[in-house]
Symmetry: C2
Subunit: 483 residues, 2 copies
């Protein structure tokens, strides 16, 4: 589509659409997800540019997103969560008219210390894009450039036209008057987020038709190049894992001999229950969401511990999320996607019975995730947890530790006690045979994800009473510290 092209505009467009359609089909067949971000100055023609692009795409295979200000629900989360839950499934194309960039600009450049907040947003964005690119997503980012003078002309023209005047708000003029001031900020954001796997294309948009054709041809080139260079293979080289931290792991210091008598349990339990209920109410009033992750050996007592933890809580404010194997829809997304979907709303508690740590435990040991995938997951998990905590959420991670003998004893009890037989399956025995492999995975998981913002609490669980009260007290202490 060079400018010397002798074909008519219509002919060129038709050919471009045919090629784009073919590329879209190839992406679908090869299950490659793609993200197309169109950003730009106000009145730079984002909608028209996207309209030109969409006409060449099969509408059954793309999702279009034009997200404005977040609603109350979204504001309770890190600002990227609403984009995380809208990432494209493998083989689909997601097109964003404005995106996390406009939101970062709109939400972060107000008030004091906005530069710090903006830099934190940039860090989150870089993480977000890197994680998606690592998962095989092609990311294209466009910025439609117009001059301040051209922007003024367009705003005036739209104000005069009765069909478009309602679209122009004071906000548009406010931003127009900030054009010069915003220019270096926007350039800084673009430069800070320029990566080989998430490159910016700055498009001269003084003429919308030219810009539209430019975006269309760039999409075609980038899609084609992505297929030529191996398609879904990630662009980034696989970095080796850093050595395991040498600091003491909380799993080394856990004292499995700790126990609690039934009598003591009955004595302290009522107070714990009352305080847990008070904790829930504090979280609710302060609109702080809390995630409690339960991981642990089979038969370590996760279910019983969860049941006692929520016993006195108000069911309006908590839910237990049982995590099993991912569904087909979940498998067609980044592995963290299904957890973002289940994050608690503001003031709510979500208890994850197993969690994203399945990636580095069962999926690692059973070979359900590739080595690259589970090795990458440590960093991805730490980044997600940190962003969640930094945005104000609470996060508690329990590892319920029992020794192999206790596990064996409980398995045998389950086999002989008719009321417990449902708890034991062939799989439990198979997993037990892999205890060594799992032990290695557990130790590495805790070593690599025991972070200042999201430390593990390892609970000695050979004694169920002791383990239950320990978990309840840990929640009480955490919430009291938090709020």
């Amino acid at each position: 589509m060079s400018k010397n092209d002798s074909r008519s505009g219509e002919e060129r467009l038709k050919e471009a659409y045919e090629e784009l359609g073919a590329l879209q089909r190839t992406f679908r067949i090869r299950q490659i997800p793609a993200i197309i971000v169109v950003e730009g100055w106000n009145a730079s023609g984002i909608s028209d540019t996207i309209a030109t692009l969409l006409q060449g795409l099969d509408p059954r295979g793309f999702d279009f997103h034009a997200l404005g200000r977040p609603g109350e629900e979204d504001r309770a989360h890190t600002f990227l969560r609403r984009f995380w839950v809208r990432t494209p499934a493998h083989g689909r194309i997601a097109i964003y008219a404005r995106s996390w960039y406009s939101r970062a600009l709109a939400e972060k450049i107000r008030g004091t210390e906005w530069e710090k907040r903006l830099d934190r947003a940039i860090t989150s964005i870089k993480t977000f894009e890197r994680q998606l690119a690592d998962d095989g997503t092609l990311i294209l980012k466009f910025f439609l450039q117009i001059s301040s003078e051209e922007q003024r002309r367009r705003l005036v023209a739209r104000e005069k036209d009765p069909l478009t005047s309602w679209m122009i708000t004071r906000n548009d003029w406010d931003f127009h008057h900030l054009y010069d001031e915003l220019t270096p900020v926007i350039r800084h954001i673009r430069e800070a987020t320029e990566e080989p796997w998430a490159a910016w294309h700055i498009v001269d948009a003084e003429e919308t038709a030219v810009a539209s054709e430019r975006v269309l041809s760039t999409v075609i080139e980038r899609f084609r190049a992505h297929l030529d260079t191996g398609g879904s293979a990630p662009l980034r080289a696989h970095a080796p894992l850093p050595p395991l931290p040498s600091s003491a792991s909380p799993i080394d210091t856990v004292d499995l001999s700790l126990s609690m008598s039934r009598h003591d349990y009955d004595r302290v339990s009522p107070e714990c229950q009352a305080r847990l209920r008070a904790c829930q109410y504090s979280l609710y009033r302060r609109k702080v969401p809390l995630i409690i992750v339960y991981e642990g050996w089979d038969a370590a007592g996760k279910g019983g511990s969860i049941q006692r933890l929520v016993r006195s809580m108000n069911p309006r404010g908590y839910a237990v999320v049982p995590v099993g194997p991912p569904s087909s829809e979940e498998l067609a997304h980044h592995f963290l996607w299904r957890f973002y979907l289940r994050f608690p709303p503001a003031g709510d508690i979500r208890i994850f019975d197993r969690s994203w740590y399945g990636r580095v435990l069962v999926e690692r040991v059973e070979g359900l995730a590739s080595e690259h995938q589970w090795q990458r997951a440590y960093r991805e998990i730490c980044e997600m947890e940190r962003a969640y905590v930094e945005s104000g959420g609470g996060l508690i991670k329990f590892w319920l530790e029992i020794d192999a003998e206790t596990q064996l004893k409980r398995f045998r009890e389950r086999e002989t006690d008719p009321s417990k037989q449902w708890k034991i399956t062939e799989e439990d025995w198979r997993n037990r045979e892999k205890r060594e492999q799992y032990e290695r995975a557990v130790r590495e998981m805790i070593a690599r994800t025991h972070t200042p913002s999201a430390p593990w609490t390892v609970i000695a669980s050979n004694s169920k009473h002791h383990a239950r009260i320990t978990a309840q007290r840990a929640v009480i202490d955490y919430v009291n510290d938090l709020i």
Copy 2:
């Protein structure tokens, strides 16, 4: 748990919880979904009663719902949709603190003609519960009964207690003063919705502890009885299908020889596009949602027709929903559940590329649904469509008809044209061999679901140009009639 029981209250409770836990596990293993509705007068102790029940349940296996007034989004739908999307998956228990009954009462008894609106709500509720029961859901409904005098005492007591005074609003007193007036209305609702598969249990709640124990023991009895009488087998006898209506089917009168030249198509197309865009804008301004269903033979041209239909529309206001085989999560719900999830928000257009009619087409012919299931589906679909249209939504259903020769010609073209080969699979040829079976299914589908509120538009599609313009004009005419 009779009153003469000599065991202590604590002992009785413990035994009841053990039995309830065992029943919950059996329901999970047998994949039976259960719904427990707790309704009652204000201050009748709904929360406390449910709290007692929940303590005996594994929190990993239930979902608790306390839905108040609908938000803006939910108000754009029939009032049952927010409950439809929250029906329990197979093997799970959903507990509702107040439910569609309270919502019907709160939303329908205002303004003029409230009795008519209430009766329509009752009809929808009966349909909703029957469809879920037919799908194997156990439905339990409780009403906590207290006297007007007791209600007054409790409201006064709560107002005096600083911990609960904030909970009492003017609304509570308004409803209290309506106690006598509401009594016959509530009785009418209960009587009208009393069915063998959705029976009411009226519980004397003058003493909350007694009421809680009563609800708990009733749940246990009903769960046990459900297992004894065959578990997931539906309670309702399978009614034979009514004879096919003798009125002419639109598929008999379609003239497949209709065609349109490229020249005529190019001439009328621009105006259609402009009018479609105007239609979309009218729907948006009036906040009317529109569903367009595309069904038709393989190679009938659904994809191309959809692409031309949306070409000039604003992508902010439409989405295409490609419907494939249900996911594991979708299979664990009533077959209509996944479509309720994808209904358009107010003012939006959703185009379903295949739809719920898969139940009586591919699932019938390929044996993926039992005879009972697909035969029941005709009525279920008509009921859903009617409720949607009555609540103000627009619904257009297209059947794209081509004859067997045209299909064969297109299949062959697809095989030889490299740019079209992706469109043809082994499955298409297999389906073609079953043309007779599919023809029977199509004719029966149209005969049984061609209703006044949701008629089929059969589109002669041997000529693609003719078919595309016909579909576009049908949408334009429908929207212009609607608004």
